[in-house]
Symmetry: C2
Subunit: 317 residues, 2 copies
């Protein structure tokens, strides 16, 4: 009755009186006792690499919102980059009833061992696990398409991409998507993989600029790399957007305040986090489901870093 069972037929006034009295006396149902009975904790465990990259903050926020809506609480586990664990290393949390399910948001796979899916309810966020059915990812293909369509419409034919390494699942999918999109005759794309850091973006751009066919439009996988990319362009005297069009795949308010305001593709990060939590709650409740592809809202945020390529280059045979 104290949990709001409506099936009881008590006079409303009586019910209210009781509830008021309970509240006044400070009564709180003990979730551990309740959990013991139901074999449910009401908590979900989320394993994240707590990078300073703001995308995780957005994913977390979306996840937390969806969790409170589902009456769940989220506990955060931090996986340090220098101590990459297997997803199965976290299932003890469910086995010892600390959580009902696992949200696995670590992008990097540990090397060597063949992946096995955890034996407890789980969902992979922003990456695919070893099997279909428990993955919630964003529509990277659509993101790449927005980029490629935008710059090819401006007249660019030689594209470039700076992103992380391919062991990161999003990078893998982006690379495949952009290759497919640039397979049209006359189009090409140079893909540089580098660390997800400023220095990584810097080095990758240097490599790109030393090619004989320097791209005229560049996509950058994340904000940290973007700062390195812009530094390399600045030092090389390559003006944005006249010598190089630039598109970031991390949207952030700061982009509008840089030397040149940078156009970006805004990914549905909060939606991703929320969708993952909803999917996990389904699985905890025994409703299994298919993989989820989050495609909205995924838009190009136009700023000032894209323009047609220089005529001199464009017309060169």
């Amino acid at each position: 009755m104290l949990n709001g069972d409506a099936s009881l037929s008590i006079r409303p006034e009586t019910r209210d009186r009781i509830l008021a009295a309970a509240r006044r006396q400070g009564y709180r149902p003990n979730v551990m006792a309740r959990g013991l009975k139901h074999a449910r904790t009401g908590a979900l465990a989320m394993v994240v690499p707590l990078l300073r990259n703001p995308v995780w903050a957005s994913i977390q926020r979306g996840a937390l919102r969806a969790a409170v809506e589902g009456g769940q609480v989220v506990m955060i586990l931090d996986e340090p980059e220098d101590d990459v664990r297997l997803p199965t290393d976290y299932q003890y949390l469910v086995e010892e009833s600390r959580a009902d399910g696992l949200l696995i948001a670590t992008a990097r796979r540990p090397g060597g061992e063949r992946p096995r899916p955890p034996a407890v309810p789980h969902v992979y966020i922003n990456r695919r696990g070893p099997q279909p059915g428990n993955n919630v990812v964003m529509d990277e293909e659509k993101a790449m398409r927005l980029f490629v369509e935008r710059v090819s419409l401006l007249g660019h034919r030689r594209l470039g991409m700076v992103d992380g390494f391919k062991i990161i699942d999003t990078v893998y999918r982006r690379a495949a998507a952009v290759r497919a999109l640039c397979s049209a005759p006359g189009m090409s794309v140079a893909f540089e993989h580098a660390e997800d850091t400023e220095a990584g973006g810097y080095e990758a751009t240097l490599r790109l600029l030393s090619r004989h066919d320097v791209p005229t439009a560049l996509g950058v996988g994340n904000l940290s790399q973007l700062f390195g990319v812009m530094k390399a362009l600045r030092e090389a005297g390559a003006a944005v957007p006249d010598d190089m069009s630039l598109v970031s795949f991390d949207e952030d308010d700061c982009l509008g305040f840089l030397e040149v305001a940078v156009t970006s593709v805004s990914m549905p990060l909060e939606e991703l986090g929320a969708a993952a939590v909803r999917a996990l709650i389904d699985r905890v409740d025994g409703r299994s489901g298919a993989d989820v592809l989050v495609s909205d809202p995924l838009v190009l945020v136009e700023r000032a870093s894209t323009a047609p390529p220089r005529l001199s280059r464009r017309l060169r045979p």
Copy 2:
């Protein structure tokens, strides 16, 4: 015995056999049952404003590290900026045994109501609560001193500061500290309060630049504002560092890759999070303590955005 009670006198081989068998069968102690008995959950609840500002990622990371060391787990609660609650609104988490204590990391105070400390174990992170004894903060005074000493050594006399509003406790303490530090004859400081956003920093800088006594050295409270500050300086034609020295109070790798590499004061964010968790565990265990002031590692990261003021201005009477 299964939890490693050494007081039992079992033959080591027997003990090992049992433990091995337990492990093989996948036995896991149920933390809810254990918790029910001990009236302990082994979890701490952390209320954060999930801003995209990377400082929260660092604080979280430090807190999570200290939590695993203390055998605790941290659940995260997100307080949206548009729905500021009272700290006491979260004590139900402890009352219904979801957590053993509260880490309150929201900086902004809700207006109107007089603050009352939660009636459960709690610690305020990076802000002071209504009473002394449960606050873990960083040494903002030391941070300001590093800034003021550095630029005054370079010859600056008119300083400026862009930061958030004074209802944010860190800002309040910084403002008091910098005023005290600049009370020497011939020194002055202009303090502009603004939103913790790029636009806020932009507007604040515009106000600063329109003064009759424009500062020659500027401290900026956080990274978001910094982008706005730099845009305003750029548009005004004020060169960094020649026309304006710049110091950020958020350290971030990206600072080294901006148009001008920005000097910063690196705050002990991870240490702050860790110290808060340790303090809270003490309080949960019944050991009360004093306020904690985290002062290390707090250093000036020299980059390229500080220089002596222009001679023309410096020599003007």
